[in-house]
Subunit: 339 residues, 2 copies
DNA sequence: AATTTCACCGGTAACGTTACCGAAAACGTC
DNA sequence: GACGTTTTCGGTAACGTTACCGGTGAAATT
């Protein structure tokens, strides 16, 4: 049976002083004698007192809770971002309520509808990939709830956003393939409608254009983010009359999927078909041949997002910021022609 | 600026009825006319009413929050367990507050100290690996807070526990190596002091004993759970005068680390030295040669743990249960002598 | 000595919600 | 038509905490 936790009243009664004095003593040394304060602190420790966040939240109209909305947690990128978020939240005494949407727009909506914003100080969100409609987020923001988007941002929603430099990363990845001698470069893109899918595609296109290479519509395939998508996409590419000689994948998992398909077809990645990914997922170093990629600053994105949100929560007239963090090319075996 | 959310009082005022009636209408059709109820529901929707969980939590002495304590989230096993937990919690309307300990006992303690159990309905925890002292957990349980341990359990704490069948999994893994013709089998173990490290070690030892194979003390290395640990451990093994011809690693990441070390030394996994892991991390299928392993029911462990906790929260006189879920041998290339 | 100042403390109301009890109205029964 | 029963509602207190204001006594000032 659940025992009764010691409250501020219990301390007051035990010490024969008033609850207001105890309350003051417990959080700040304002209007309270040093001795009294020490007395209260000692008694609180003795009774194993824990503040009731429901009560403080009620009167101060703020819990110390922040909701985090993620498409998934079982992948390197999001779990690393979360770890970064967590680091900052932990240091500032905030709790993180994690909701996973499974990349399902309906579930995302359900979760948002069930949130109690009266017991939430803010939100960190990476939207699900099929969410075309983002009105629900705008509503929340209009209600004055601090929200920070990261990675997958809702473009037309007016609030802070943190992301990696998708355009330049994609540009650099594509240019790297070109520098290595590949000429017929395909792109395994993400789902349509996401800002960062579009940005990476644009970086790819502009790099091709700069080097006067042809853009083949059939070499650009939009599909999901999973490994299987990359696997299928490569098979589709290989049925084309005109086959590419290199692949830039929107993320490492799709690149890995493509490499597995190549392995089955006895095609050697790098030597015959160059492959580069995006993320720097640990598997990219483990797979053989190892996968060249653009490293994303996942941990940093988490840290910065959370820091921004906390500023937003604390400052009264906070103006939304957009932060873009650079990626970094990591050259490995999958883009080396001669090994 | 944060706007004021509609409360139950606003609804009452707008409809010119009492708050108690609104309260009753809002949650259950008890003692309230159907028309009145519909009126309230409509008005609530119109005003975009959201219940204040701080208030309900205060009066009912229970939020709908469950704390989840994990050593890390950036790995396949824990993130999958969390996904399972999340599935059940979502269906029952519970929020998950995720705390990551980074496998640091001090941080674990800090987190626990800062928890407000008055606004927590229960806890799901996998203890950090260096936590020898688990008194703090016992205190919490004595205070009547429902707690369920999973995977890394605190042995002497009296509460529900959910884990995979470490002993039999390890036994099966070792026996598989033996069946494949390996005879000098080493074990890359986890840190001392953890129940499941001990169980896997025992399974390994008993399998050797059953088949009358020698137990070499120097072939059993205790270290961390990371890939680097596996890498270093293998190097240490290979400096031994008497080298093993197979390795059973306590998890896939250490097995992968060992395989990477082998790769550098031009040793071919499987052919020369058999390797088997534990977990069925997705990398085990991606790495080449692919890694044989014991698949852990991670998702199931999460589901069952959460379900058990919810039962614990709801039933008044709940008796602690221990659930052990079986693993499954997955045979891949790293244990095939002739390929 | 009278007054002002200051440090410290207590009482009350409030935050949004639910539990509990009593009251009023509507209904049925004889 | 008097009575009991049922349905439906309202008022009050409480959950644990903080904000606000007012009061007490001692010290400092004149």
């Amino acid at each position: 049976m659940r025992r009764h936790y010691a409250t501020i009243k219990d301390i007051a009664r035990a010490l024969n002083i008033s609850v207001s004095t105890v309350s003051r003593a417990l959080r700040d040394t304002y209007d309270v004698n040093a001795e009294t304060r020490q007395m209260v602190l000692d008694k609180a420790a003795e009774l194993n007192y824990r503040p009731n966040f429901n009560a403080t939240g009620l009167v101060k109209n703020s819990s110390h809770n922040v909701a985090v909305l993620l498409p998934a947690i079982t992948n390197y990128y999001f779990s690393t971002v979360f770890t970064g978020i967590q680091e900052v939240a932990y240091r500032h005494g905030y709790n993180l309520i994690l909701h996973v949407t499974n990349d399902d727009a309906e579930r995302e909506l359900n979760i948002i509808r069930s949130l109690s914003f009266s017991s939430l100080d803010g939100m960190l969100v990476s939207v699900s990939s099929q969410a075309d409609a983002c009105d629900h987020f705008q509503e929340i923001i209009d209600d004055g709830v601090p929200v920070v988007f990261f990675d997958r941002v809702a473009e037309h929603v007016g609030t802070s956003k943190v992301m990696q430099d998708d355009y330049n990363g994609a540009f650099e990845a594509t240019e790297h393939l070109i520098a290595k001698g590949y000429r017929r470069i395909a792109h395994l893109a993400g789902p349509q409608g996401l800002t960062f899918t579009a940005n990476r595609l644009q970086g790819y296109l502009d790099a091709l254009r700069k080097h006067k290479l042809p853009v083949q519509e059939s070499w650009i395939i939009h599909s999901g983010f999973g490994q299987e998508s990359g696997y299928q996409d490569f098979q589709q590419l290989w049925e084309l009359p005109e086959k590419p000689d290199a692949i830039f994948a929107v993320n490492d998992r799709k690149a890995v999927g493509a490499m597995l398909a190549m392995k089955e077809m006895k095609i050697i990645p790098g030597k015959e078909v160059g492959v580069i990914g995006f993320t720097n997922d640990p598997v990219s170093a483990i797979i053989s041949p190892s996968l060249s990629t653009i490293a994303e600053p996942a941990y940093e994105i988490g840290r910065v997002s959370c820091q921004l949100l906390l500023n937003h929560i604390r400052k009264k007239n906070f103006v939304a910021e957009e932060v873009v963090l650079p990626g970094k090319l990591i050259e490995r075996e999958s883009t080396q022609r001669n090994r």
